[in-house]
């Protein structure tokens, strides 16, 4: 019974966040546009040589997603802070982790959609040919995105409510995401060239373990972060 209440609350928060985000299209559009812009800038930095571009494609893609994603995470709490909505949100009874999970779902869809756009543009710009193992590649993107969103949503709950939120979120988040970035970039890179060394599997396992560990840890710690 209590569990059904929690599920309903999670649904309410995810629905509310997504509806708000959908209605203010400007938010999503500008975040996705920023992701694409960063990708283009990477293209300039890496030069016109096709092979160099292809080699760096996976790294450029993930970094663009990361930089654009950071904006999305702070936005997710901006809605709550604008007219004191967080005060009301905290007034509802029930465990606090439902707020986190609701926001996690909304942010996952948001970042997932952005990632699709960035990937599509990246494939074209960096002259990448889609490998035969594309379902695994999709899995890598999903696992990497989850890692990104889990920690991003968690740290934004603090950063968005502190002074200097613009600098604090990346400062806290980026070092924590090193394993995700290494794993996602290495796995994508390996899969793009056909995974001759069979190293993608290990990275995918690492991504899965990372996601699981930090999902559980943040779920537990969220109450301490949001309640003060």
């Amino acid at each position: 019974m209590a569990f059904r209440d929690d599920v309903r609350r999670i649904r309410a928060i995810a629905w509310k966040d997504l509806t708000t985000e959908r209605r203010s299209k400007a938010g999503f559009n500008s975040v996705a546009a920023l992701g694409v812009t960063i990708l283009v800038l990477f293209g300039f930095a890496l030069g016109p040589d096709a092979q160099a571009l292809r080699d760096a494609a996976a790294g450029a893609l993930w970094l663009s997603a990361l930089f654009a994603g950071v904006l999305a995470f702070n936005r997710s709490y901006q809605v709550e802070l604008e007219s004191g909505a967080l005060d009301q949100l905290l007034q509802y009874p029930g465990p606090r982790w439902v707020i986190y999970v609701g926001k996690l779902i909304a942010n996952s869809l948001f970042v997932g959609l952005m990632l699709i756009i960035v990937i599509a543009v990246g494939i074209a710009l960096f002259q990448v040919s889609i490998p035969a193992a594309w379902p695994s590649l999709l899995g890598v993107f999903a696992l990497g995105a989850v890692g990104l969103v889990v920690l991003g949503t968690f740290y934004a709950a603090m950063a968005s409510r502190s002074r200097a939120r613009e600098v604090l979120l990346p400062l806290l988040l980026f070092p924590m995401l090193v394993p995700v970035l290494l794993a996602a970039i290495s796995a994508s890179k390996a899969l793009l060239v056909g995974d001759m060394m069979h190293e993608a599997g290990a990275w995918i396992k690492l991504l899965g373990a990372y996601d699981l560990i930090f999902f559980v840890a943040t779920l537990w710690a969220f109450e301490y972060v949001i309640e003060v």
Binding site: R8, I13, K16, T19, A85, Q88, L90, Q91, P93
Partner: protein, 242 residues
């Protein structure tokens, strides 16, 4: 010396709160019985809102104890939250949701049905004509009415209202008073932060003045509260103080 649970609706014992180096509350003690409606007066920065937010589980006291129906606001937050109706200074609405969607969100979070009851609440606060319009276009007064409709959904035993009359027109003030009085007559307690007494005339039992973070004065309201017949009130009070 904790009083037995549910004897008092709202109670503070030496509540103090510090922000940085500044002491906003310096040991506030007060008690509200079930059915009591109390106005909280005081100059700007005297600590009224801070006290209200402590009762509303949004701030933890730096020292002292605050209780709602015997539940400690710092520890038994869930029990306290299911008793509370909190109207903050800001309406706390989502601008890109419609009036009805804002209520629907509240109802879902509270585990209430989201059907005709929402429209009825909106009608009651005079927003029946803008049910499906987005809050972004609402005036400040309309937003406050919507926040009031959301408050009505909760059927709370304790109302914490922070300057509830600001931005409201005459009809809105009358509506607010009606809702506060109803809650009081049903045995609920209300703590109302005010910066002037006039709009709350005939609503309050008592006023408490906060000065410099302490209770400076507690006295009966200048205009006594209009009550229904005593028998009803006694019955309602007994029911509320169960």
């Amino acid at each position: 010396m904790v009083t037995s649970k549910s004897e008092l609706a709202i109670e503070a014992q030496g509540v103090a709160r510090r922000f940085g180096a500044r002491w906003v509350l310096r040991g506030v003690s007060l008690q509200l019985e079930p059915g009591e409606i109390v106005g909280l007066l005081g100059a700007n920065g005297s600590g009224k809102t801070t006290l209200l937010r402590i009762f509303g589980t949004l701030l933890k006291p730096t020292a002292g104890t605050a209780l709602i129906y015997g539940h400690d606001v710092a520890r038994e937050t869930d029990a306290v939250r299911s008793e509370l109706g909190f109207l903050a200074h800001t309406p706390g609405l989502y601008d890109d949701l419609t009036a009805r969607e804002n209520l629907k969100f509240g109802a879902m979070m509270l585990g209430l049905p989201a059907g005709n009851n929402l429209d009825a609440a909106l009608e009651r606060v005079g927003l029946g004509h803008v049910i499906n319009e987005r809050v972004r276009g609402f005036s400040a007064g309309m937003q406050r009415r919507l926040a009031l409709a959301r408050l009505l959904l909760r059927h709370a035993r304790v109302l914490l209202l922070d300057e509830p009359y600001s931005n409201l027109d005459t009809a809105g003030i009358a509506l607010m008073n009606e809702i506060i009085t109803e809650a009081g007559n049903a045995g609920g307690a209300a703590l109302v932060v005010l910066h002037e007494l006039a709009p709350a005339a005939g609503v309050l039992d008592r006023t408490i003045t906060i000065e410099n973070g302490r209770v400076a004065d507690s006295r009966p309201a200048p205009v006594p509260r209009l009550r229904p017949r005593t028998a009803e009130r006694a019955a309602a009070g007994a029911g509320g103080g169960r």
